[in-house]
Symmetry: C2
Subunit: 351 residues, 2 copies
């Protein structure tokens, strides 16, 4: 048996290293989740009829005569029969500054923290949702992002999703979280710095170049006219994948309305592939977008990063910042690609 040395890989942009630990020879089947007993959900605060269990909605989508109407709740009033519902997080990590405060203290965590309830159906998660519903979800992302981006004290907006308890979700109802912050996150700053440097040297977007390369690589998973998904070269997590718009866009806000359906389809197929390949594993996803601090970020390219939660970052990772990933991204892509094809066929039959 030949002993193959593990491979050390650096991220496309960041000084972030990962050991692709092929020695452990783990296969996708090693990560298939056990089917948990179905727990009956009682008193889910995000389910219809329990609207009074949350603060008033900051945004609801209602269907009236086939049209989507947007509204919000009042203190004593809650909309029923909603399609999408956004509410403040009960335990916000970031809160708006008090009125009358002239200078915002840098040490306070100013911002907003909301939950986007993705569907009235408890478990209509993106990997199995109706495309029509996913389009509503994406529209809600854009609506809240637009709203938060206007606030003078907001510099960045993070849209992220935690799926299942093991990935940090405290409620199982399909939902996304959105946090608006008064600082630009360090991870985004580093991506901005590296992509700006690349643009200055090459008058090109580094992400556009990465897309071009990965489209033809063994890490490719799925593409349609507008979007592409692949496992990144230096994946930190087993089965991690990234989704990019093929057009050069700095923020989600630049996404044209006619691309929404394509993006919904991409999410449905890629998250559906992950779901079916590994029996509904826990995962996190997070959007990386340009900040909203009135600077221009022409050199940046927004994208979505999906991190399945199948390994534990332990003492080595936490005290060095070097990661160990036991599934080569090429193997992960090969499995995900196969399952994405099946999802495409399933969707084609439906429509």
């Amino acid at each position: 048996m030949t002993r193959v040395a593990n491979e050390l890989r650096r991220d496309y942009l960041l000084n972030r290293w990962v050991v692709i630990a092929t020695e452990r020879k783990r296969r996708p089947t090693d990560f298939v989740q056990k089917t948990a007993e179905r727990v009956k959900v009682v008193d889910c605060p995000f389910c219809p009829e329990n609207e009074h269990m949350t603060p008033p909605a900051t945004l609801v989508y209602l269907s009236k005569n086939g049209q989507i109407i947007k509204d919000k709740d009042d203190d004593g009033f809650r909309h029923k029969n909603w399609i999408i519902r956004c509410v403040p997080n009960l335990y916000p990590a970031f809160t708006p500054p008090k009125a009358g405060l002239r200078r915002f203290e840098k040490s306070k965590a100013f911002g907003h923290h909301e939950v986007i309830i993705e569907s009235p159906i408890h478990d209509e998660h993106p990997g199995q949702a109706r495309i029509s519903q996913l389009i509503h979800v994406l529209n809600a992302y854009l609506d809240r992002l637009t709203e938060f981006s206007k606030k003078s004290y907001v510099k960045y907006v993070s849209i992220f999703r935690n799926h299942k308890r093991e990935a940090g979700a405290s409620l199982s109802h399909a939902h996304t979280q959105i946090i608006a912050t008064s600082i630009i996150p360090q991870l985004i700053k580093e991506e901005l710095k590296a992509s700006k440097r690349f643009w200055k040297r090459n008058t090109k977007c580094i992400f556009c170049e990465i897309i071009k390369r990965e489209r033809k690589s063994s890490r490719f998973i799925f593409e349609n006219e507008k979007f592409i998904a692949f496992t990144p070269w230096a994946s930190l997590n087993p089965f991690e994948f990234w989704v990019f718009p093929k057009e050069h866009q700095t923020s989600l806000l630049e996404m044209r309305k006619d691309s929404l359906k394509m993006f919904a389809e991409t999410l449905r197929i890629c998250l559906g592939a992950l779901r079916n390949l590994l029996n509904d594993p826990p995962y996190n996803f997070g959007f990386h977008i340009a900040p909203c601090d009135n600077q221009t970020y022409y050199f940046y390219h927004w994208h979505l990063e999906v991190y399945p939660k199948l390994a534990i970052w332990a003492g080595f990772e936490k005290s060095t910042g070097i990661y160990i990933n036991v599934i080569p991204p090429e193997d992960a892509a090969s499995s995900l690609r196969e399952y994405a094809k099946k999802e495409m066929e399933r969707l084609a039959v439906k429509s």
Copy 2:
């Protein structure tokens, strides 16, 4: 009820931010672990009599006529009645380059990955170990660190510990891991950069200054003549604490033999306090030491960081690098300080 805005804190050295989320008002008792049913350990490869289940030891401590003798195993031979035992990790993240290889390819994960079995007693973990045994453990750290530091392809040595399955430990027998790498970890590089800059400006060690300040702060936990423990200002994890030598030393290797007992006592008391306060929670610890690449790092100050595993880093943390910690380090220190006192009394009675 006054709503207090959460606090945003930056690390002493790094561009790493944490939200101290006081709004959630979590108390230490919220983190006390449930007592798990005691699982009978069968065929533990690290227990005495099972030495043949591991590769040959690279180092064993044996007691002969009251003296500690150091030796190692051979292919067909395993020492019995050992006090400490170091063996190669069966699934190494880093492996030595093959003999005859002149240039080390940068893309290979060259190095070493070993396990230090801390005691013949299955569950003699540092929070409850005999001081005499802990001194052997520390000596073994120094022996392996010395050995790895000599290799031309080794630039950094990480010594870390994963306690319990939830914190990434695959075996429950008391053990530490040691990974020697051919790169300097990014996290260490950033600490080196910041501490070098501070030294150049102030001709002082930034860590020595931090120790001076934290000794008198509400984050202080414990000190003896040679060591100090406190919860860091921008703790990422609930109940996180750091241990520093009070003398300015760049690496563990500079620790004088007469300090070993003091360090063992510090570990025993602080990890014992964590153990008793929260009913044996999972945790990781990792040493931060100067690299061994033949450069001088006079401006650096080695230390140990202990990360209890009581929260999940989810979509927000992973896609921004901003952390949310629901226990203010001042509250954590207050509880740990109280329990450290109890541990000191217990140890005093024993000796």
